[in-house]
């Protein structure tokens, strides 16, 4: 094997599960939920400037939207009393505003209590149901099940079911700053921010975290995933809290942010998919959803306010990229992307991950055929995007030690300034995107998809993207030698970028170019019914599905490689 990864056995950093912050949090769940509800109430009151009229309006808006959601978009996971709860809110609001003889102060009090009932409900809904026993069970099921499948597939013969020759770590390579991550997780609080291409990412990252010997991270998972029972079980046991994307009202969003901020302050390592949702286009996220990211900055500032100036109060941002040859949902993702950007077709979510059967089928395919995944862990940063040294101290561009607290200082004191923190969140978002590009690992499949698409684009210079994608597949053909030269050109540029630390590559890219192309074509989108790249009898390059090719090609956009064409 030309690919040599150090298969590392990582000891857990906290051997006893009682020391896991997430276990501590689960123990104090009730108090924690109450705290979140109360703090969210305060935040919302501040946002409505403690004005009963504005508060009333917000309450009514929330009520209206929730009623609409229940009517138009109900989900399996919704609690049974959803309807009755909101009807109750409605009658309270009507009562408060119609009954005569109340003074303003009294009314305000009553609005506040309605508000608190809402934030309490939301906080309860968001909070995770982590159980350490479930976690252990799930973890061993995942690991055991996966390695059984793996060994059955790779080592022939009946006994192979019980062989331990291959483990999950052969399949999923973890590279990068893993030691730093483990070390910092014992000293401060880690917020991991991975790229997001597939629904499998949540489980994959959960597994990576446990392989690295880290205690479970809490993370916001889309409530829609809890619709599927198998996912719901996994998610709950991995420490997921629930994010309901249907609820976009102020009260819900503030409660969610408060939950995240308080959990980080509590010391729970957290995981955000900063893209917010899976990348529809196949590109590395370039615009991040900054809502949850801002809670990391808030939590850091709050720690400084509370005098936690040492490393125990420090929050570390760790970017992670997940690299695949194959994204199961690619066809529907790219369709979504194109219909959103093209605004032509009706947009409807069509999820390949719609039921447990399909997922199991995919998992079996995944483990019985080769499709390697690599997870690259980036350098840890402080909440302003400065790298940190071994002791977790922030370093500026010139390597000088600086104090993160200084960013929150005004007139010599730590101060709260929401507008400032909004800007800091933008800065952090930009830094994370930069780091994503740097730690992104190029696979042979990314290379061939990129080159094939760019060459087809060049052949049809006059077409815009949408016409290009509608090009009849049988009209597309690139002579092999041209294609090979094109791949070499791009690979040279990638290697140049790599020497500047701007991108990373998988070791298999050092093979001979014919071999890279051969494997790349085998790998790219390997389980799709229509293959993104095919080779005809003359060896020339074509495609069965332009949109899919575009999807896999997009992985390498953002590096200026297009300019080579």
């Amino acid at each position: 094997m030309e690919e040599k990864y150090i298969k590392h056995k990582y000891e857990p950093i906290h051997p006893s599960k009682d020391e896991w912050p997430v276990v501590k949090l689960a123990r104090e769940r009730k108090e924690f939920v109450k705290k979140v509800a109360d703090l969210s109430e305060d935040r919302i009151l501040k946002l409505t400037s403690n004005n009963p009229d504005i508060l009333k309006e917000e309450l009514e808006t929330t009520l209206y939207r929730e009623k609409l959601r229940i009517k138009q978009n109900p989900w399996v996971v919704d609690p049974d009393d959803d309807g009755s709860f909101w009807s109750g809110v409605k009658s309270s609001l009507v009562q408060i505003s119609t009954e005569a003889g109340r003074n303003k102060v009294k009314k305000f009090q009553e609005y506040k209590s309605v508000l608190n009932s809402i934030t309490a409900r939301y906080a309860e809904e968001i909070a995770s149901n982590f159980k350490a026993t479930h976690y252990k069970f799930t973890r061993s099921v995942v690991t055991y099940g996966f390695s059984r499948l793996l060994n059955a597939a790779r080592v022939k013969g009946f006994k192979s079911i019980f062989s331990n020759q291959y483990t999950l770590q052969d399949k999923i390579q973890i590279t990068g700053e893993t030691d730093q991550l483990r070390d910092l997780a014992t000293k401060g609080t880690v917020v991991m921010v991975p790229t997001h291409f597939s629904n499998l990412d949540s489980i994959l990252i959960g597994w990576v975290i446990s392989v690295l010997g880290l205690p479970p991270f809490i993370y916001g998972a889309g409530l829609n995933l809890f619709n599927i029972s198998i996912f719901a079980y996994f998610m709950n046991s991995l420490g997921a809290y629930k994010v309901d994307r249907r609820k976009k009202n102020l009260m819900y969003l503030e409660t969610l942010k408060t939950y995240s901020k308080e959990a980080i302050q509590f010391g729970c390592h957290s995981l955000f998919f900063p893209g917010g949702t899976r990348s529809r286009s196949g590109m590395i996220e370039s615009k991040l959803k900054l809502g949850l990211l801002s809670t990391a900055i808030e939590a850091q500032r709050a720690n400084f306010e509370n005098g936690l100036n040492d490393i125990s109060g420090k929050i570390f941002i760790v970017p992670v990229t997940i690299n695949y040859h194959f994204v199961l949902e690619a066809p529907s993702l790219i369709r979504d992307h194109l219909s959103i950007t093209g605004q032509e077709r009706y947009y409807k979510e069509n999820d390949e991950f719609s039921n447990s059967y399909k997922i199991s089928k995919f998992l079996i395919k995944f483990f019985t055929k080769g499709s390697d995944i690599s997870v690259s862990v980036g350098k840890a940063m402080d909440v302003l995007g400065n790298y940190v040294d071994v002791d977790g101290r922030s370093l500026d561009k010139h390597g000088r030690v600086i104090n993160t607290r200084d960013y929150f200082i005004s007139d010599g004191k730590v101060s709260v300034d929401n507008q400032r923190e909004e800007e800091y969140t933008n800065m952090l978002g930009k830094r994370i995107v930069e780091e994503f590009h740097k730690i992104n690992r190029v696979f042979n499949s990314h290379l061939v998809a990129f080159v094939a698409f760019e060459m087809i684009k060049k052949q049809n210079r006059k077409l815009d993207l949408f016409d290009l994608l509608r090009l009849p597949e049988e009209e597309i053909s690139i002579p092999y030698e041209d294609f090979k030269a094109g791949c070499q050109l791009v690979l040279d540029k990638i290697n140049e970028l790599k020497s500047q630390g701007l991108i990373n590559t998988a070791p298999h890219l050092s093979l001979d170019m014919d071999e890279i192309i051969k494997r790349g074509m085998e790998n790219v989108g390997m389980y799709h019914a229509k293959r993104p790249i095919i080779q005809d009898n003359n060896g020339d390059i074509g495609t069965d599905d332009m949109s899919l090719l575009y999807f896999y090609h997009n992985r390498l956009t953002g590096y200026g490689l297009e300019k080579l064409y």
Binding site: L384, I402, D406, I409, S410, D411, R420
Partner: protein, 352 residues
């Protein structure tokens, strides 16, 4: 950080005591203790001994130092008031002593280049936006300070020094920088506006210098107010398109830092950029003019940078392009004017 010792009074730092730096230092000194930075020991001594800097009178609340570390330790807020040609170097000198708690506001209306080692404007010829740095971008690139703002507007130093009424804009992404700048500078005679589009404000201040040179040239040719009205209006359109291409918003060009400053500079014989144009039109050569100016006319460097930027941008800027040919390619001003009069400007306003 023992510098945050609250028993010691904090100073407001001003780096550079050119005419604008001195004027701002005096305005600041009306409310605060000010520490100015001058590189030369004799200037420092002059300020500390006789409260004047090269003939400019300074308030008694102002002390001077040539030690960057002392300034950074004594001040939480620093005003950088140095010409763009030396800006990068000065910022680098201060960089090791700056921390994220520092607020930095600059008042420099120029651009810097962000080129690789060994490259110069002569060798690269064409530049992209990423190779141009505004002064705030220089600060962000060279230092760890993030809370950065800029000061721009019709602020002719001579009038400020005489205490005439005037207004300025402080632009920053951070409200706190704007508020801090306002509370430090605002007075009965000095109004301070805020703007969150720092790039737009910086670019406006930079681009108006080009038009100011052209305005001086028109005056030197003895042309009247119609011509000046034409120039200011077309100049504004050019500033808007260039400003947009460089990442600023149209609104900022319409504000105090754009139109406000443009009108003031185009009418002022005090302006250095205006004088350059005026003397060119009177037949002097650029080298001769530069040789006897004691402070920099930022516009000349700006014309060169913008000309190189136009090579990569899909954009025409006829005033800048012709001014470049006048300054560096010996085109006669009369010919340039002829060219501009024939240029097919059909549409009066095409940017709103």
């Amino acid at each position: 950080m023992d510098s945050k010792n609250s028993t010691k009074p904090k100073y407001i730092g001003v780096i550079g005591v050119g005419s604008f730096g001195a004027a701002i230092a005096n305005i600041l000194a009306a409310k605060s203790l000010v520490m100015v930075y001058a590189r030369k020991q004799e200037v420092v001594d002059e300020i500390n001994a006789s409260h004047s800097a090269q003939g400019k009178k300074l308030s008694e609340n102002i002390i001077a130092s040539n030690d960057p570390e002392q300034l950074c330790k004594s001040c939480d807020v620093l005003f950088f008031m140095v010409p763009s040609s030396g800006f990068q170097n000065v910022v680098r000198t201060f960089s090791p002593f700056l921390f994220p708690y520092h607020l930095i506001i600059h008042g420099t209306k120029g651009l810097c280049l962000n080129l690789k080692e060994g490259e110069t404007l002569e060798t690269v010829k064409k530049i992209k936006r990423s190779q141009i740095l505004t002064m705030s971008e220089v600060i962000l690139q060279e230092t760890v300070a993030v809370r950065v703002g800029c000061l721009a507007g019709p602020n002719l130093s001579k009038e400020l020094a005489q205490g005439q009424p005037a207004a300025t804009v402080i632009a920053s992404k951070y409200n706190e920088v704007i508020l801090e700048g306002q509370s430090l500078l605002r007075s009965e005679k000095f109004q301070v506006y805020g703007n969150s589009d720092i790039i737009g404000v910086e670019i406006s201040g930079v681009l108006k210098n080009i038009i100011a040179i052209a305005s001086g040239a028109l005056a030197g040719l003895g042309l009247g107010e119609n011509a000046k009205g034409l120039l200011i209006s077309r100049g504004m359109v050019e500033m808007i398109h260039l400003g947009n291409a460089l990442g600023g918003s149209i609104k900022s060009v319409m504000g105090l830092a754009g139109i406000g400053d443009l009108v003031a500079t185009c009418n002022s014989v005090h302006s250095r950029n205006f004088s350059v144009g005026f003397r060119l039109a009177k037949g002097e050569s650029l080298d001769a003019i530069l040789a006897d100016m004691d402070e920099v006319a930022e516009g000349i460097n700006t014309v060169r940078i913008i000309k190189a930027f136009l090579e990569t941008a899909d954009l025409r800027a006829p005033i800048t392009e012709n001014l470049y040919r006048v300054l560096f390619e010996d085109l006669e001003i009369e010919e340039a004017l002829q060219f501009l009069m024939k240029y097919p400007f059909n549409v009066d306003v095409d940017f709103v």
